[in-house]
Each structure stands twice: as structure tokens, then as C-alpha cells.
Amino acid sequence: MIQTIFSRPESLRNVSTHYCPGCTHGVTHRLTAEVLDELGVRERAVGIAPVGCAVLAYNYFNCDFAEAAHGRAPAMATGMKRTHPELIVFTYQGDGDLASIGMAEIIHAANRGEKITVIFINNAIYGMTGGQMAPTTMPNQRATTCPFGRDVNYAGYPIRMADILSGLTTPSYIVRANVNTPSGIPFAKRCLRKAFQYQVDGRCFSLVEFVSTCPTNWGMSPIKACEWASSDMIPYYQLGEFKTPDDPLPEGLKTDKGDD
């Protein structure tokens, strides 16, 4: 009598994806689907797909989905969550979508404390459009728009979104996990489950940044890409929880209306 202990989650459709072999999008898609299943929220989940490699994410999940303009997913999510707070709204965004064109939208959604969950895939490059430099590209890393390597004197240093968003005062859950090592994946899933649980509890904004790989545009095999992410990305993009909604607010901040 064989008991299955690992199989495809219900929230992930049984279709072949267009992602490159070894691309960790497949892992984060599966983790998201597993969490939706485990929390029992598939039937009230609405996902928002980005412009990026995951632009066709709506073909892979078994829940309602919308396609946002580049970078605008947090704004669409705001519109959805504010009009229908019972929905579990999540966005799935890449480096260009979230940290470049969508920088204003993500910061303000986090600052307003929109009770949505943001899945941020950080693979230090623009994948879909063929490997251009991203705000998250590492110094000296080659990309098609910095063919001699990212020059920090010209393009600045990479942006660490989890660090930036954790600096906002509004309570939120901000965490960085990694999916490029087998041992990182269970931790990543725990973070993602916690992030969605905060939304189910109606508590706060949550963002999980996943250090991910892009073997094709990094010009490496999937295994080498996983190793490069460990050696070159993780020392800079530190893993761990940056902020939880239980963190104390700044001293002396008056938040009650007081006497009029």
C-alpha cells in the first residue's frame, strides 16, 4: 500500500510551464500553491501576474487571476483588496516589475498597510526581455545593458527591497528567503505560509523576497546558478525576517485622535 507523501498541489495546474529548465520560478509557484492549499484559501484567492517571466502565471494557478501593467500589481491589489477584503489577494513580481518601474507602487502599498501578500522574485536580472541589468544586479555582474559588468560608479549599488520596506513604520511582515538551495526551500515555505497567514488573519502587508536564479541569462547551468546565488548574492541579500507586525512602533508617536 503506497502512501503518497509528496505530489502536485491542487492550486497548481497540471500543465507544463514555459520556464527555463532549472528556473526557480517553478519552485516558488509550487510553494505558493502548496500554501494556498494548506491554508484552504484557493477558492477565495486572487493572484496578480506581473510583466516579466511570470507574465503567464495565470495559466499555472488554479485560482482567479488578473494581469497587471508593468509594476502596477500592488495598485491593482489595493483596488481588489479594498473593495473585497474577503479575498486573499497576492501579487507575484520580479525585479523589474517591483524594484524598477513599480517602486512607487510597492512602497506605497506597504506604507498604507494594504493587507495583501507580495511574492518578490529577486534573480538579479531582467529575465523575460533577455537579460538586461536590473536594480538588483550585483556589482560587476554582466548583463546585456552592462556588458562589461555593473559599474557601481555609473549605476549605483543593487537595491535591497526587503531592507528598504522594513524601514517603513506601518506594521508589516517583511522577510527574505532563498530557493536556490535545497535547505533554503523549507524555510522559504514557512515564511510564505506565515505571510499568507497574516493576510488570512487580516493583520498587515506581507512581502517575501526570494533569492532566485536565472540560469539562462546568467549564462550558467542550473546547478552552477544555484551555487553562484549562494556565493555572490546571499552575502549581500541577507536572509531572515526583517520586520514583523509585532515590532514596536517608534517612541513618542501619537496615533490616537485625542481631544478635538
Binding site: R42, E43, R44, A45, V46, I48, A49, V55, L56, Y58, F61, N62, C63, D64, F65, A66, E67, A68, A69, R72, A75, M76, A77, T78, G79, M80, R82, T83, H84, E86, L87, A104, E105, I107, H108, R112
Partner: protein
């Protein structure tokens, strides 16, 4: 319902509330900020929700998201902010979800000035964003008409699952006139939309997207949109004819505020025994070409008067099929007096 004296912007906000809209996402910009300010106070009374977005770019995407869930929602802005909404409008039109957008036009181009203008006619009827799509554009000329058209806009947006724009100007937004509102619609009584993203319980997931990489599918979408616009053209043309008669000396084309000024000039000329008529399109898209053409046939001369360097004049020429169309306009936010406009009509008659 009693008649109340209300500012145009506030009347627009109240009309949206009466239409069953309970959500507004917008950004301040003169001369329409009062819409947001009024709703910030009014919405809590009816269980509504107002969010000040971080930019117009965010605002249009917030209403796009809200519209995907099947909720009545609107935003408002003024010319530079409407430009920022172009991308969102194209996405909304391609995804075929209903939204209402209000443009209280200010003088441009660029940052321009805050005084009234009609320089966004081309933007609204032709250039609202990339790709082959149209907005249904309604142009009120009074506070009462603005309130009525806002309520109509929500119904038309739902009927055609297309964005609908109400285009006014600073005068309509800022002036106070008596207005009477229709009965309040309870949003819970509005019909449910089967395509909306409300959670895939007991049904297959719904997907709302504007991405169609397969050219055959994308052409089919464009053809479907075209059919929709043809239906709009057949069923939704609205206009007003004022003092139009056979043998008119001049037929004036004007919309919005300019039509009010023209009417005063026309009345004065009528008292002097000179026959001048006004054709006022209420739907800028679909433009009432046939009715305009008929009216043009009954006049000796045609003039288009606009608060711009001449944008509606293109549509008048299309309607007139080759007949000469004169133009008078002021720009920069300068609004001509009825006397000035009357002199232009007289000059045209002399020519």
C-alpha cells in the same frame, strides 16, 4: 429629491454615490480635487471607501483592480493626470472591464494652467492610449447634466464593459448651480458579473488579462472591440440642437462650457433678428456625425468655437464633408465673453 445648490465637482461625487459607487481611488490635482475631498467626507456616511493613491498611475491601476472584482468604481483627474492614466486606460479597454473616469480639463499643454480649457478633446476621442480602442466620452454643459451623465456613465460602462469618460472643464467643476439627484442605487442590488474575480469557489478560475500573444486571438479581440464600438455608434449618440432652423446664417458647433457662452450670444442675435443655431454634441465619442451633417445642410456658414486651437473642428469637417468650417477659440485658460463670441459670429456672417 430636492434641488440643492452644489459645486460641480461635489455634484459629480454625489452622483457617483447615487449610482451605487462606493469606491474612489484618486490623486489631488486642480481643478478637480474637490471630488476627492467631498467623497472623503461623504463615503463614510454610505459605507464607501476613498483612498488617496500615490499618483494617477497608481489610481488608474487601483480602479482597474477594483473593476476586475466587478465593483462600481471611478476616478477623476485633470489633463496632466489623465495623461498618466493612458497606459491604464488601454489595459482596461483591452481587458473589457467597466470603469468611469472624470477629466476636469485644465489649460495645457504641459503643466499648463488651472483655468478652463477644452484642449483634451483629441486625447479623449482619439489618443487615450496605445492600440485600437475607444472611450465612450460624455461632455456635460451644466452641473445638472454632469450629475445626470455620471449616473448614465456607470450604466453605460457596465453595458459595454468599456471605460467611459466624463469630460468637463474648470468652470463646470467649480461653478455652483441647482441640481437634483435621482434615487440612490444600493450597490447590493446591482446584477452580479459572471466574469468578475470573486474567488474560484465552485467554478473554474476567471482570468482577466490584456495579454494575447497569439495573433489570431488578438485580432479576434480587436474585432470584438470594433463590434462593440459600432454598437455604441448605433445606440449611444447624444446631442442637443438649439435654435436650429432652415436658412440659418451660421451653425455653431460647441461643447461643454463653450456651448453655454454661445447660447447667450445666439439669444442676443435672435433678438436682433439674426438666425444662428447651435449644435452641441453630448457624446464626443460616438460623435453624432449624421445629425451634425443634417444640421450643417441647413446653414449658410459653419463655425466651431472651442477653448483650444481647434480639435472638435476635425469632427465637424468630417460631418460636413468638405464644407468650409470657420474657427474661433481662446487658449491658455482665457474664456471668451458672450459679446466676444457674438462679434465672431457677426464677422463670419459679413465674410
Amino acid at each position: 429629491m430636492a434641488r440643492v445648490l452644489m459645486k460641480g465637482n461635489e455634484a459629480i461625487g454625489e452622483a457617483a454615490v447615487r449610482a451605487g459607487c462606493r469606491f474612489f481611488f484618486g490623486y489631488p490635482i486642480t481643478p478637480q480635487t474637490e471630488i476627492a475631498e467631498y467623497l472623503a467626507k461623504r463615503f463614510p456616511e454610505v459605507g464607501g471607501y476613498f483612498i488617496q493613491a500615490e499618483s494617477e498611475v497608481a489610481a488608474i491601476n487601483m480602479i482597474y483592480g477594483a473593476a476586475c472584482t466587478g465593483t462600481r468604481v471611478f476616478t477623476s483627474s485633470s489633463s496632466p493626470g489623465i495623461s498618466l492614466m493612458s497606459e491604464g486606460m488601454s489595459y482596461i479597454a483591452a481587458s473589457e472591464v467597466p470603469v468611469v473616469v472624470v477629466n476636469i480639463v485644465r489649460a495645457g499643454p504641459g503643466l499648463g494652467g488651472i483655468l478652463p480649457s477644452q484642449g483634451d478633446y483629441w486625447q479623449a476621442t482619439r489618443g487615450m492610449g496605445h492600440g485600437d480602442f475607444r472611450l465612450l466620452v460624455l461632455a456635460p454643459a451644466s452641473v445638472q447634466e454632469a450629475a445626470d451623465l455620471v449616473m448614465l456613465a456607470f450604466d453605460l460602462a457596465d453595458k459595454y464593459t468599456n471605460p467611459v469618460m466624463i469630460i468637463g472643464d474648470g468652470i463646470i467643476g467649480q461653478m455652483m448651480e441647482p441640481v437634483e439627484f435621482r434615487e440612490m442605487i444600493d450597490p447590493a442590488t446591482l446584477p452580479k458579473k459572471p466574469w468578475a474575480l470573486t474567488g474560484a469557489k465552485g467554478r473554474a478560475p476567471n482570468i482577466i488579462t490584456s495579454l494575447f500573444l497569439d495573433p489570431i486571438v488578438l485580432e479576434a479581440l480587436n474585432q470584438r472591440l470594433l463590434k462593440k464600438y459600432r454598437r455604441m455608434e448605433a445606440e449611444e449618440k447624444r446631442w442637443e440642437e438649439y435654435n436650429v432652423s432652415d436658412g440659418m446664417e451660421v451653425l455653431v458647433f460647441a461643447w461643454g462650457t463653450m456651448s453655454r457662452i454661445s447660447k447667450t450670444a445666439i439669444d442676443e442675435l435672435k433678438n436682433e433678428g439674426i438666425k444662428v443655431g447651435l449644435f452641441r454634441p453630448i457624446t464626443l465619442y460616438p460623435f453624432p456625425y449624421e445629425a451634425a451633417g443634417e444640421a450643417i445642410g441647413r446653414a449658410k456658414k459653419i463655425i466651431s468655437v472651442e477653448l483650444s486651437t481647434g480639435q472638435m473642428i476635425d469632427d465637424v469637417k468630417l460631418a460636413g464633408c468638405g464644407k468650409d468650417v470657420a474657427f474661433f477659440g481662446r487658449q491658455g485658460g482665457i474664456v471668451p465673453t458672450p459679446e466676444e463670441v457674438k462679434q465672431e459670429f457677426l464677422k463670419l456672417i459679413e465674410r
